[in-house]
Amino acid sequence: MRKKCFSYIIAFLIIITLNFIVPRLLPGDPLSAIYGEEVLLKLSGETREYINSTYNLDRPVAIQYVLHVISIFRGNLGYSIYYKKPVIELVFSYIPYTIILMGLGMLISTALGIVLGIESGWRRGKRYDRFILFMMIFFSGFPAFFMGACFLIIFGVILDILPFQGAKTAYSGMAASGITFDFLRHLILPLLSLVFVFTPSSYLLTRNAMISSIKEPYILLAKAKGLKDIRIRYGHAGRNSLIPVATHTGVRLGTVMMTGTLFIEIIFSYPGMGTLIYNSILNRDYPVIQGSFLFVAVLVLLINFLMDISYVRLDPRIEYAY
């Protein structure tokens, strides 16, 4: 486990370092390359001070680097000319939506995938299994943005029963409970799209693991013990099937989930990091792009870390492998 933690720290340092190097590789003075010559001149003294403190271009490179790291930990990621706000503030106002959307999406799709996978694997070859398997393979072919667009058109435009833009109705002036309800309504379509995109992979993994688990000798023992079917299915076969699911999901999950979520956000103009990055690209708002990527990368790392921990907890044999 200690080794794992160490590699996460290394990964984190690499991300910070890249964040430090990339703007300095741009042609010319990084400050003007990023913010633009004229813009810099127009800025007030205070803002310029703030920007300068993130770059410290007058200092030696090593010191620049140290100061860069310190300023990141202080939350100083630069200043958005377009939004006229420090990047950190922007990120903090957008990232909760992403976390909610992705977190829920991940939770629901993993749980759904596992349950369906266990049931399907247990009944391998039966009608139930074949049906679910077909549906999952069908949906697993859809890229995230396509799935999102489909839901948007069907439920938002044609059926017109659900909102498909943003996270809340603007200027509604509703009561607190109304606001929550409104928020949830807005969440439905993006979340549903995410669930449809993510479920097949965890389903397929679980089903595969389940099919090999049910051939294991301990299942024979569990059957011989006269345990209830559901206990054998979930307590014995299912439980052991989660181990390969966790290992396989681990690395992939973070990146796949993240990119999926970002795309879905853009489709539904959901005010999360995806939308923020998208808009900043359109506006060439480099400091925001840079800061957002830093956060997204850290988020991915965090998810992977959580997967690693759960994997260790799932398989008692692992502790000893380290």
Binding site: E216, P217, Y218, I219, L220, L221, A222, K223, A224, K225, G226, L227, K228, R231, G235, H236, R239, N240, I243, L314, D315, P316, R317, Y320
Partner: protein, 526 residues
């Protein structure tokens, strides 16, 4: 308690269990022994109703009656109620049968139910001498022996009526084995046990009755002690001979050939050294033979040579006084005695070289009237003095071939082929150089092999070996004894091994007779 009637199990077209019937009383312990692949585990799983779980294409016919219920016919939910509460099992493969992600305690407590406290589990684990402090360990944290003990505890925790033990001791060291056997005995006092094992030691110390399975058939069944002390079926004897028991001094012997599934005739016939034509054609049925049940056309291992009340005296000096004994097929009987005790006289009487005063020699259960070519094709002798037992005018080819010529087999090409074959069998070269060499050019060990080859060329059933190795160096003697042992395994020779050396006798014999003042005494092997 358990009655199995005409049980047939096959996987696809392969018949694993053939028409098996037996009964197990409610307090009886029956051992089912046999090599791996004889269908023991299949039998065990079928009683648990788990065959379909193990293999999709298993087909079962017949009845497995547990009390009133036929396990082959009840529905899965009813079967679930029988499992473990009434019938439990200790599975083999202690190394991977337990669930790797559950602790021992969890795996046992899911049987007893959560509401009961763990004390009964602890108690049971302590009974099987599982280290109770490790109750919350995962299987991979335990030694294989500990896992095996946990499995035994698990099998008895619900106090079932019938426990099936599939190799319950296979992963234990000898000390632990002895302990767990006595624990199992204690735990099994009020219940029926079906022990399935290839470990004859465990079978012998645990069971009252033993059933020997070969190729899915019962070949021998009866009281355990009886089977182990005097096996009647050639397969049972082969099994016992290949098992390194503490009370055996003879070198281990295997069973020739490999186990294969035979459709017609006796399942053992390709490996049996006393099979006759009918064995290939007709399957023997299980019949009662003096307290044992036996499936063999010849009534079990046959006596090859029998002495009945042989007497001989020279000048009123009794050399042999009422000598009687039997040599069974594939058996070595050691005949010990000081020089002048009448050993050689006896050998010469058997071979018809000397008139007996009274008594009868029986060969394959028929009295011998004439010592003719027919007799010598079945009984051959190896003499003590190797140098003088072949004529030095004959080359090796002719010396080995001589018995064939005496038997009027004159086709020289056939004979040469036979000679070459038998020479290879006794581990001698069979090239021209060797064949046309002369006996006096050979070393003692080589010469002894030539003599053995010569005795074997007629494929005799009995070999009388009179001090066959006394002129040889110990290291060569060891090789010749090994050779005889192997030849016996392959051909089922009955051997009378005459020697004055008790050490040698112990090493080669299944039984030892001592000839003392003309009287035969049985000798214990250790």
């Amino acid at each position: 308690m358990l009655e199995i009637r005409n049980l047939n199990i096959s996987y696809g077209s392969k018949k694993i269990i053939k028409d098996l019937s037996f009964e197990l009383g409610s307090r009886e312990i029956i051992a089912v022994v046999g090599e791996s692949g004889t269908g023991k585990t299949t039998l065990a799983l079928s009683i648990m109703g788990l065959l379909s779980q193990q293999s999709g294409d298993a087909s079962v016919s017949g009845e497995i009656l547990f009390g009133e219920t036929d396990i082959c016919r009840i529905r899965e939910p009813d079967l679930r109620l029988l499992r473990w509460k009434r019938i439990s099992m200790v599975f083999q493969n202690a190394d991977n049968i337990l669930n790797p992600t559950m602790t021992i305690y969890q795996q046992i407590s899911e049987l007893t139910g959560k509401n009961r406290d763990g004390s009964s589990i602890r108690e049971m684990l302590a009974t099987v001498s599982f280290p109770v402090s490790r109750i919350n360990a995962y299987p991979h944290q335990l030694s294989i022996g500990e896992r095996q003990k946990a499995l035994v505890a698990m099998a008895y925790i619900l106090k079932p009526d019938l426990v099936i033990l599939d190799e319950p001791t296979s992963s234990l060291d000898p000390d632990a084995r002895v302990k767990i056997i006595s624990t199992i005995k204690k735990l099994s006092r009020d219940r029926a046990v079906l022990l399935v094992t290839h470990d004859l030691g465990t079978a012998r110390s645990l069971s009252e009755k033993t059933m020997v399975l070969y190729g899915g058939d019962i070949v021998e069944m009866g009281p355990t002690e009886k089977i182990f002390s005097g096996p009647r079926h050639p397969y049972t004897r082969g099994l016992i001979r290949s098992y390194p028991g503490m009370d055996r001094t003879k070198d281990l012997q295997g069973i020739r050939g490999k186990a294969e599934f035979i459709e017609t005739g006796c399942p053992f016939h390709p490996r049996c050294t006393q099979s006759i034509d009918i064995c290939r054609l007709l399957k023997p049925v299980l019949k009662e033979y003096g307290g044992l049940k036996l499936a063999c056309h010849r009534g079990g291992i046959i006596p090859m040579l029998e002495m009945r009340d042989i007497r001989k005296s020279y000048n009123k000096n009794n050399v042999l006084e009422s000598v009687s004994f039997k040599i069974y097929e594939g058996e070595t009987v050691g005949l010990l005695g000081k020089s002048g005790s009448g050993k050689t006289t006896l050998a010469r009487i058997i071979m018809g070289l000397l008139e007996k005063d009274a008594g009868e020699v029986y060969l394959e259960e028929e009295p011998v009237k004439k010592w003719d070519a027919g007799f010598y094709s079945r009984v051959q002798m190896i003499f003590q003095d190797v140098r003088s037992s072949v004529s030095h005018r004959l080359n090796i080819l002719d010396a080995v071939m001589e018995p064939l010529v005496i038997q009027k087999k004159v086709n020289r090409t056939d004979n040469i082929t036979a000679v070459k074959k038998v020479l290879t069998e006794v581990e001698l070269p069979s090239d021209e150089n060797f064949l046309y060499g002369y006996p006096h050019h050979l070393s003692g060990g080589e010469l002894q092999r030539v003599i053995i080859a010569r005795a074997l060329i007629l494929s005799p059933r009995v070999l009388i070996a009179d001090e066959p190795t006394s002129f040889l160096d110990p290291s060569i003697q060891a090789k010749v004894l090994k050779l005889l042992n192997r030849l016996q395994e392959d051909r089922g020779l009955g051997i009378l091994f005459i020697t004055h050396d008790p050490g040698v006798a112990r090493k080669v014999s299944d039984r030892i007779l001592r000839l003392d003042e003309g009287i035969i005494k049985n000798e214990r092997l250790n």
